[in-house]
């Protein structure tokens, strides 16, 4: 056949083709007719006549051609894609190790990112599963949700019931206003039996709570407004879907069932929808009780009518058109107005004027977990993103190496006519397939990792109740990550491979790709750059992890001022059994005597707030001769403690004496100060013998000074604190009882005997907890441990990947240079020299990485400054350890190729070139 011309595509070329074809026909016919004797003009006319309607034929031909080309393009795209996939699968099969490593590291990176993002999403981003969460407004300080304050001073972070009842919702721009408050311990009995392993987590809510949130019932009904009008007369209960499944086995006949809640009869009227866990993120509420029932559930501590009981948070829904700003100021103004009318003294009314009433957007609910974990989560997010960056670099490097190894294949395919675009597409398909597999495996990894994270974050055995399921945002996040990974590690090798110059590649088999220079440094420059980058990024993670571990060590082993390994803290719920005032004091004394009589116990005392048990007391005070400069000068934390408290806890007495049995009712009140208190008010002078005013009217004589102890938190700095005698109770009777027991041996061994001793005093006394102090302290730093543990995992992975990358690059370099090395061996080079040559080459890369990495790390470590306790962000030990670990890892990674280089046999090597 005659030489062919390439077929043209596209609309314009279709028209040209058809026109050319028809013109050819008409010309041929015309010529034929001229040959037959017609004159040219008549011949032309006759040709057209014979042809028929030219325009119509032209149009139908074009339409047919367009259809044909469309189908062809589609088919050829699919065919190409299938071919690409087949090739990709073949490549994977041929190099299973490489593909396996790529998929596994991608899965790790994507999985870890998705898991952390899931946690970030659940804690920081997710909106409550309620109707139009954007309209919700919260008044009060979410971080106070774990405490319930009685305070003679007006407060703006929690509210009393009276304020809530009197607030006019519509006047402040709200369509509805609900109140929620924490419950004390709940005891739920079905048919007279309590089957809960832990007390159910309940919340007292106003009857319009579910209406304001827009949460319907899964079964039965939720509360309706009007329930709260009947104070004490709305014995109804709504339970969560989870509790319904756990406790009632999902039995729909629970609706209408009567149960005993704290000995009062309640009827279950509804089950909330699955997924609704209340307005507090990080806390799973299991049952809701109308606020009106507070006095029925806790007859000993009725708070509804007590304007000094600040315990409610308010939840409102904005009216259409009311902005958050308007509601914020109107609501704050409303609360201040009501508190002013409630103020007992002009001084309190004056305080109300300066009071900040906290009003914030409520879409994401309230959370203590959020404020605690915000910084660590963001740090983890940054860390895990770094890790993904390293993984991408690593994968790019592996694929680059493979692309280099396939240069010959590529050049052959180019030579037999494959388009460059086609080759790039082939490589991209491979990357796409890899990333798809990596993302799939990553999702599995992330499920597993987020459960692990929740357990670690909770600090105890259980999980933090957070919904980290992969929702749409997390899924989108994963997809974006893997696609980014495709672009980063797929395009680079593809672009490089496509630059193969056929002739050169055929001749030199790969040298065109790697550069023609003879030195090691000139070959595979992109791979080397990636390794140096990986080293730099790894340094950030390794230093960060080392810093966090050192900080954790400081927290775990630092001096707390207490005998941390010898103490047991007991929390008994004495008020639940009617122990108040003198009876409670008598119980405390009697229990202490029992405990002191136990073998293995070397000391015992009692306290109201306990150590690491979570409650705090604040009192105002006045020190004679001390000029108040700010409001906090007249406030201090305090605790009521029993005889020999200082000795029993292992605290250090700096001056004066400990409390004893004689510091009881009827004697003149005495007080112990901690060093922070003494330093603040007395500077270097001895406070012993001074009488200070406590509360509004009491006073006490200072008899001792105690060293500061870390009694509530390992991370915070010491606060001013004073101790009054539990037996003298100059600030009023204590309401709580915690026991502190010092043991001679392992405190864990005494837990059962201590429980028995308390039961011997009164078998009916509910014991909330008996814990070794060391365990409580460990739990209190769950957040720090989580951060440090994950940082170690990330840093370890980064290190491993950097080592793998370095190993790969050095192995490649050694194999490319085998000819040169062989020549050197033949010329008598020593093995040690060859090993040193390769190692030196590797260390140059590491040195470049470190040079870039150190300033980066110094910048990054400043970000985690607030998470570091007792360690500077520039801690030389941490940097030293990290650099040593990194250098050692690099050395090990380079050693294998180095030794391989030294074993190159001269003949083999020479033949290889």
């Amino acid at each position: 056949m005659r030489p062919t011309i390439r077929t043209r595509f596209g609309r314009r070329s279709i028209a040209t083709d058809v026109d050319d074809e028809l013109a050819f026909h008409l010309d041929m016919r015309t010529r034929h007719l001229i040959d037959a004797g017609l004159d040219p003009a008549r011949a032309r006319a006759e040709a057209h006549r014979r042809f028929g309607d030219l325009g119509e034929v032209r149009d139908s031909c074009m339409t047919l051609d367009e259809g044909r080309i469309r189908t062809m393009n589609r088919v050829s795209f699919l065919q190409d894609f299938r071919q690409d996939l087949t090739w990709a699968a073949r490549v994977f099969r041929r190099t299973p190790m490489v593909s396996g490593v790529v998929i596994a590291t991608l899965a790790l990176g994507i999985g870890a990112n998705t898991a952390i993002f899931g946690l970030v999403n659940a804690v920081l981003l997710r909106e409550l599963p309620v109707r139009a969460p954007d309209e919700l407004v919260i008044a009060g300080d979410p971080t106070r949700t774990s405490s319930m304050g009685f305070d003679s001073n007006p407060r703006g972070d929690l509210f009393n019931f009276t304020t809530y009842r009197q607030l006019d919702a519509t006047a402040v721009g709200l369509s509805g206003l609900a109140a929620t408050g924490r419950t004390e311990r709940l005891d739920l009995r079905i048919d007279g039996v309590n089957r809960d392993q832990a007390p159910p987590r309940g919340r007292m809510v106003s009857a319009n709570y579910f209406q304001v949130l827009g949460v319907g019932a899964f079964l039965g009904r939720t509360f309706i407004p009007g329930d709260e009008d009947m104070v004490g007369g709305a014995p109804v209960l709504t339970i969560s879907h989870g509790y319904w499944l756990r406790r009632f086995g999902g039995d729909s006949s629970v609706i209408g069932r009567d149960v005993l809640l704290n000995d009062a009869k309640f009827t279950i009227i509804g089950v909330t929808p699955p997924g609704f866990r209340g307005e507090i993120v990080g806390q799973e509420i299991e049952l809701w009780v109308p606020l009106a029932m507070q006095g029925v559930l806790w007859p000993n501590t009725p708070v509804l009518d007590d304007t000094q009981a600040y315990w409610l948070l308010l939840l409102g829904r904005r009216l259409p058109g009311a902005s958050l700003e308007q509601v914020r100021s109107a609501l704050a103004e409303g609360v201040r107005g009501l508190l002013t009318t409630q103020a007992a003294t002009p001084a309190q009314a004056a305080q109300v004027r300066d009071l900040t009433v906290e009003v914030s957007a409520g879409a994401r609910g309230l959370s203590r977990v959020r404020s605690t974990y915000r910084a660590p989560l963001l740090i983890l997010m940054a860390g895990v993103a770094l890790l993904l960056l390293i993984i991408c670099a690593n994968v790019a490097n592996i694929l680059l190496a493979r692309a280099v190894a396939r240069t010959r294949e590529m050049s052959v395919r180019l030579a037999i006519g494959a388009g460059r675009g086609r080759l790039i597409r082939q490589l991209l398909t491979e990357s796409f397939l890899l990333s798809l597999l990596g993302a799939g495996a990553g999702l599995v990894v992330s499920r597993w990792m987020s459960r692990m994270l929740l357990v670690m974050a909770a600090g105890g055995g259980s999980e933090l109740p957070l919904d980290t399921t992969i929702g749409l945002p997390a899924l989108a996040f994963t997809m974006v990550l893997s696609l980014t990974a495709v672009v980063v590690f797929g395009v680079t090798p593809a672009l490089r491979a496509s630059r193969v110059v056929v002739a050169t590649a055929m001749r030199a088999s790969g040298k065109a790709l790697t550069g023609a220079g003879s030195g090691m440094g000139q070959r595979n420059p992109l791979g080397r750059l990636l390794i140096a980058g990986q080293v730099a990024l790894s340094l950030i993670l390794v230093v960060g992890a080392t810093l966090l571990v050192r900080s954790l060590q400081h927290l775990q082993q630092g001096d707390t001022g207490l005998a941390r390994e010898q103490l047991v803290i007991v929390d008994v719920d004495a008020t639940a059994r009617g122990y108040t005032e003198t009876r409670l004091t008598a119980l405390a004394v009697s229990l202490r005597a029992r405990l002191l009589g136990m073998p293995g116990v070397t000391g015992a005392s009692f306290t109201e707030n306990g150590i690491f048990t979570g409650t705090e007391s604040i009192s105002n005070l006045a020190v004679p001769g001390f000029e108040m400069r700010e409001r906090t000068d007249s406030l201090s934390y305090y605790d009521q403690v029993g005889p020999a408290f200082v000795a029993a806890t292992g605290a250090r007495l700096r001056r004066g004496r400990d409390f004893n049995e004689q510091d009881a009712e009827g004697t003149s009140p005495v007080v112990l100060l901690n060093e922070s208190f003494a330093r603040h008010y007395f500077k270097d002078q001895s406070p012993i013998g001074t009488t200070i005013r406590l509360g509004d009217s009491a006073s006490a004589e200072v008899v001792g000074v105690v060293a500061d102890v870390k009694d509530h938190s390992l991370t915070g700095s010491a606060r001013k604190r004073f101790y009054v005698s539990y037996l003298q109770h100059p600030l009023g009777y204590a309401g709580l009882l915690r026991l502190v027991i010092r043991t001679s041996g392992d405190p864990a061994l005494l837990i059962q005997p201590i429980r028995a001793a308390i039961a011997a005093e009164n078998a009916d006394l509910p014991i909330r907890s008996v814990d070794p102090l060391a365990r409580l302290m460990r739990q209190s730093i769950a957040e720090e441990r989580l951060l440090a543990n994950l940082a170690i995992v990330f840093a370890g992975t980064a290190l491993l990947l950097a080592a793998i990358g370095l190993y790969g690059v050095m192995s490649y370099a050694v194999s490319r240079r085998s000819g040169e090395i062989g020549l050197r061996v033949a010329l008598g080079a020593q093995r040690a020299t060859l090993v040193a040559m390769v190692l030196r080459d590797a260390l140059v890369l590491v040195a470049i990485g470190i040079t870039v990495g150190v300033p980066l790390t110094l910048g990054a470590s400043r970000i985690i400054r607030n998470q570091l306790h007792g360690v500077a962000p520039t801690d030389p030990v941490a940097f030293g350890v990290a650099l040593a670990v990194l250098a050692l890892g690099a050395l090990l990674a380079a050693l294998v190729p180095a030794i391989r280089a030294s074993r190159v046999a001269p003949v083999v090597a020479l033949r290889a070139e």
Partner: protein, 115 residues
């Protein structure tokens, strides 16, 4: 065979095109000339519809087209039978012979003899 308006029945033109190409690649004009010659100028009244048919057959995948140069060195579009086009031609011929045979037989019958 003629349709009511005096043109070619569409299927017949298709078969003729396939047949015209059964000896190798030809351009449209050559196909037209072949049909004109072998049918004694009886069948192809207008030449335009031939091109519509060529493009339709190309779209169906029975023909493959390629640009080449004609004997007088002009650029021309050459058509060629594809594998499926060749099979189609074979099927059409068999079908036609069976059909024509049946009709011929019917027309040759002398007298009907109902059972």
């Amino acid at each position: 065979m003629l349709d009511p308006e005096g043109g070619l029945v569409r299927g017949t033109l298709d078969v003729l095109i396939l047949k015209a190409l059964s000896w190798g690649p030809r351009h449209g004009y050559a196909v037209a000339e072949w049909i004109r010659t072998v049918t004694d100028e009886q069948l192809l009244v207008e030449e335009g519809p031939l091109y519509t048919a060529l493009h339709r057959l190309e779209k169906r995948g029975w023909l493959v087209a390629e640009w080449g140069y004609s004997d007088n060195n002009r650029k021309a579009k050459y058509y060629q039978l594809s594998r499926s086009g060749r099979q189609q031609l074979k099927a059409e011929i068999t079908g036609w012979e069976r059909y024509a045979g049946a009709v011929t037989k019917a027309l040759a019958a002398v007298r009907s003899s109902p059972a």
